[in-house]
Structures are given as C-alpha cells and as structure tokens.
C-alpha cells in the first residue's frame, strides 16, 4: 500500500489525473497545500474512484478558510496523521 501526495489544485493543474493513474490496490491519496482545493464539493468528484482512500491536511484547509467547506467523505488529518500515513505505507510518491 502506497501513499501519494498531491499539492496542486485540480483547478490549476491536471497532475491529479496522473496521481490517480499511478495508484493501485489500496493506495491512498493525501491532498496537501493547494491540493486541498480538491476536497471542495465541486472538485471532489474527480476522486470518486478512490472514495474512502482520500485524505486532506487540516492545517492547509484551515489556512485557506476551507475547513468547513470540505466535502463529505474525506478524511481530514493533521500533520501527525500525515506522519502516520507515511509510516503505514510502503513508500510515498509526490505529485506536483
């Protein structure tokens, strides 16, 4: 099980597609930095195929005023949770 991180907004870059292409099995995707815009209701449908395996970093949502605007079904974690996700995965792949 691998962890993929995504730091670009789907409104700006289509690297989110490449991240999804590279994911297999029960891999997880963590949205960080501007990538947390992908957690908004109008954007989250792009990640429908990995429902239940999608995470977003709390502090990046908070800084952008998006914490209360996050769509349902996304697991919001803090930086400690981020560390734990990396430890649980076999390896971490960054998409930017």
């Amino acid at each position: 099980m691998q962890l993929h991180t995504l730091n670009r907004s789907p409104l700006v870059s289509n690297v989110w597609r490449q991240a999804l292409t590279a994911m297999s099995g029960d891999d997880r995707l963590l949205l960080i930095e501007d990538g947390v815009q992908g957690a908004l209701a109008p954007q989250v449908g792009r990640f429908a195929d990995i429902r239940g395996r999608l995470f977003a970093l709390r502090e990046d949502l908070e800084a952008r005023g998006l914490l209360e605007r996050c769509a349902e079904g996304i697991q919001i974690i803090d930086v400690d949770g981020f560390v734990d996700l990396t430890a649980e995965a076999d390896k971490v792949i960054g998409w930017y």
């Binding site: 590279a22 297999s24 998409w95």
Partner: protein
C-alpha cells in the same frame, strides 16, 4: 503484472515535464543517470508533458540553453534499459512512435500503476 514490459527495479524516475520550459526534466534525467552510474537498476517513465522530451529534432535554445536531447542519447550508454512512455501522453501531443528520438515502450495506465508498485524507489520530476 504485465508480461511484455520489464518489471521490477530499484529506481523509477517519472519525467512529467518537457524540455526547455523548466529545469525539472534535466534534473530528473540527471538523477536517473546518477542512479545508473551507481549500479542501480533504473527505469524511466515519460508521463504527460514528459513525452515532449522524446520528440526528435530538438535543438539548443535561442540563448544557448543545452536542452536534454544530448543527455537522452546517453541513456543507453548508462545502462538505463527500461524506457517507457505513457501511451496517452504521446497521443496528447499528436506523436507516434516514429516521432520519438529513441526506443521507448508505450505503456497503458494500468502498466503505469504496475511500474510504480514494482520499484523500491519512485521519484517524480
């Protein structure tokens, strides 16, 4: 795992950026070359805009920027045997295999995921 693509390896370098517009392609290639020079089994995957790195007939930039075509020519010399390109990426640029500078194997989306899973270290540039 698919049978027609060499699987497994130490390092998979995924190149997602084209030549000249930025330094990431060059920096990714340098990383792959160093890994190969250190005796690691290296695979290169050109993904998305990275397919533009493969177009034949590239030159230096107008200000003398080197570009990456000369470096790509060195890949074989450095024992980087596994050269892959995302099939969809070639199509997106309107390229066919004959346009490619060198011998790369087109792979499907599923094969991309397989390659990522099969290498111990995956780095994207």
């Amino acid at each position: 795992m698919t049978d027609n693509v060499a699987t497994g390896g130490d390092v998979l370098v995924i190149l997602r950026h084209g030549p000249h517009g930025g330094s990431l392609l060059r920096e990714g290639l340098d990383t792959a070359l160093v890994a190969a020079a250190f005796g690691k089994r290296v695979s290169l995957l050109f993904m998305g805009e990275g397919a533009a790195a493969l177009v034949s007939g590239q030159t230096a930039g107008a200000l003398g920027q080197k570009g990456t075509h000369a470096t790509l020519a060195m890949l074989e010399m450095y024992d980087i045997e596994t050269l892959l390109v995302e099939a969809e990426a070639l199509e997106g640029l309107g390229l066919v295999m004959a346009d490619a500078e060198m011998d790369v194997q087109p792979v499907s989306a599923a094969e991309v995921a397989d390659q990522v899973a099969a290498h111990a270290l995956v780095m994207t540039f």
